[in-house]
Symmetry: C2
């Protein structure tokens, strides 16, 4: 009897439809405008139905968060084939920022908004997406160490420092914390600060 399997498939289908609608609305109108009722409208079901597939709004956001990580990882893929490890690292850093600029709402749910982390917290699971992406960075840092570009050291510590800088720079920009500068000065400052960080790494790490 394939009924159980079909039901399983249908359940999975509905979950996917909800998440797709959520992501669609989220990317289009941002976090503020994303409501359970809007998602329900989009998929042409009642709001209550969503609660049959997700515990709460945070869980829906967590699913969107997971999908967004898939997208970022996909965009990182071609970079991995760059042979020079330092150039690979720099290109990854640049990609992190351009991804954020091109998909500000996705960046929000991935790295800034607290909601998706709350479901993770209460589930007491490890943050798989975070671990995976961080490992990716650690690997590249390890390559830099192996190639003698960086000194011998804990690659996780170095990766943490590098991620911090790139993230900080990006988050400050996305959240408009560089609005004390004119548009031109801000662009110039960001560009130069990024380059300075790269040269500093090459010299000091």
């Amino acid at each position: 009897m394939g009924i159980v399997e079909r039901k399983e498939r249908e359940k999975e289908d509905m979950r996917r439809r909800i998440v797709d609608a959520a992501q669609h609305l989220f990317v289009q109108n941002g976090f503020e405008k994303l409501s359970i009722r809007a998602i329900a409208d989009e998929i042409e079901y009642s709001p209550a139905t969503i609660y049959l597939y997700f515990k709460d709004k945070s869980e829906v956001l967590y699913a969107v968060h997971q999908q967004a990580f898939g997208k970022l990882m996909q965009e990182f893929q071609p970079i991995l084939s760059i042979s020079d490890p330092f150039e690979k690292l720099v290109t990854m850093g640049r990609k992190y920022t351009t991804f954020a600029v091109q998909n500000p709402e996705l960046f929000d749910v991935m790295f800034i908004i607290t909601a998706p982390m709350e479901t993770l917290d209460c589930r007491e699971e490890i943050w798989a997406e975070g671990r995976l992406s961080f490992n990716m960075l650690v690997l590249v840092v390890q390559e830099c160490i192996n190639a003698g570009i960086f000194q011998k050291q804990d690659p996780e510590v170095a990766a943490m420092m590098i991620w911090s800088t790139i993230h900080g720079y990006t988050a400050l920009f996305i959240r408009k914390r560089m609005s004390m500068f004119s548009d031109e000065r801000r662009a110039e400052l960001m560009h130069q600060a990024f380059n300075l960080f790269c040269t500093t790494l090459k010299k000091g790490l």
Copy 2:
């Protein structure tokens, strides 16, 4: 006739009472729980009254944001008397993080939440608080350059890079984006990453 002056004072008083209540509730219950109605309850006025003193909720948040910057600046004050410029810089960095950990809600409104920046945007003003604090950092970086600890360079670019790292590191922690590590490993990683950044600066900048 001092009536106009008294009215002015009363108006200012009411504004202060609203902001104080907002900050109080904000620090106590966080951004999510801060509502106009809660503020109104606290000061024992109707919600509509708040709109006689502030354009909208964002403007109230901007006032809280300003007050929070006052508090941070106050905590930075004693650090400024440290004679060694590099030690001063490092201590400032540490303070940025401990402030965030001890006042997560204030850190939120100062550097993460978009709301207060929106009122600034539509007022088309410069972000005075941001400019002031950034200048503080630039000054210390300039001292490091003068002392020969850093090479001759644009101090704003260097300051931008340093702020990015410290902010990134802090924001990732506050927003639970290091939950792929155990509590101990996370603490260790943050500590080491901070130290690594300091030594890298000293060597490479």
